[in-house]
Subunit: 210 residues, 2 copies
């Protein structure tokens, strides 16, 4: 069975059975909002295929990309929020068409006790997400926008597994909490340096970029 195939290297069979019994399988289209900022966390997602995007909003509507949740991964902040019934501090969006298991929050605690693999999965998730937030902080505090942009493009390329990035300059500027014109300028600079090619709604990273 599909779920089994995906997780049998990570979790014990018994836990996978629990997934099959208690989790809901959900399919969302690219762009769908799975959990909005401030909403109550009602489940913990664990991705089967596709990618979820975790981002932070401020009052004025600006956005900032924090990290991606890929296949076999989950989001640390839903763990900690849900275990104590707090509203979400982040927004979760489908970066592409995505299939995930919605784990019931009521089971989280029980599974932590019962399944060592689940506990270590939770701990590992928390640790890696902490590090991703620290990395976001590093970039904001210590790097200039051009370095951040290069990094952003590398991340996108890694997530999609392609050197082609299908985004408008405006979308990029939103995810980086900057402005469209600035991003256009910096991209143009990178194009002049022969590191990438610009098209409408698309950027092609050249070998030189890496």
């Amino acid at each position: 069975m599909q779920i089994n195939e995906i997780f049998n290297q990570i979790f014990e069979l018994e836990l996978i059975r629990e997934f099959e019994k208690k989790a809901k399988l959900i399919f969302v289209k690219e762009g769908a909002v799975i959990l909005d900022f401030g909403k109550t966390v009602s489940m913990v997602p664990i991705v089967l295929s596709g990618t979820l995007k975790i981002s932070r909003l401020d009052e004025s509507g600006s956005e900032l990309l924090l990290y991606y949740v890929n296949k076999k991964e989950s989001c640390a902040m839903t763990f900690t929020c849900c275990m104590q019934q707090f509203p979400s501090e982040v927004k979760i969006t489908a970066e592409e068409d995505t299939e995930f298991l919605a784990l019931p929050i009521t089971a989280m605690d029980e599974w932590m006790m019962k399944y060592p693999t689940w506990k270590s999965f939770v701990m590992k998730t928390i640790r890696t997400r902490f590090n991703e937030l620290l990395s976001a902080i590093d970039q904001l505090a210590f790097q200039k926008l051009d370095e951040r942009l290069a990094n952003y493009l590398k991340e996108k390329s890694k997530v999609t597994g392609s050197a082609l990035i299908n985004l408008s300059h405006e979308q990029i500027s939103i995810e980086m909490a900057s402005s469209r014109e600035v991003i256009s300028r910096l991209l143009k600079k990178l194009e002049n340096e022969k590191k990438l090619l610009l098209y409408r709604n698309q950027i092609k990273l050249l070998p030189n970029f890496w």
Copy 2:
């Protein structure tokens, strides 16, 4: 007994007995480095009195204050690092003379299983620290330096419980990953707005500041 007094509202007696048996009581002077960036985490601190400062460094030696650990609190990142034996991503310094318990990392896991109050303490710590990192990100991404500075001063004042802040402009600029002259300028502006008074190595926040 002292430890009991501090923690008997939070933890079960049996766990406090474990503290007394297995934890080491450590006293450090202001400015002491408890754990340096990249070093192996050898214990989890839990503060009895005073304050620890958690900060992030980059390669070039710049620093950025992340958050404080006050009385009865601990640092989430040492939990997750130590449970899986990873090097520290942050630097821990004594913000003032501080007394803390050094909990043995070997006991963390066992206590999580055995003491519900410990488990919920860990979860609560992780959640609040996540939120503090998110708040740091918010400030870096969405706020200007003058707002960040005002916020920084408020935090300092809250931690020390005083409207007098004993820091040079240079120290502030380091913790905020900015430069001395810029901080001087912004402080001067705040002084002109009658929000604070500037002295050598000291800043006095006025009622108007809040």
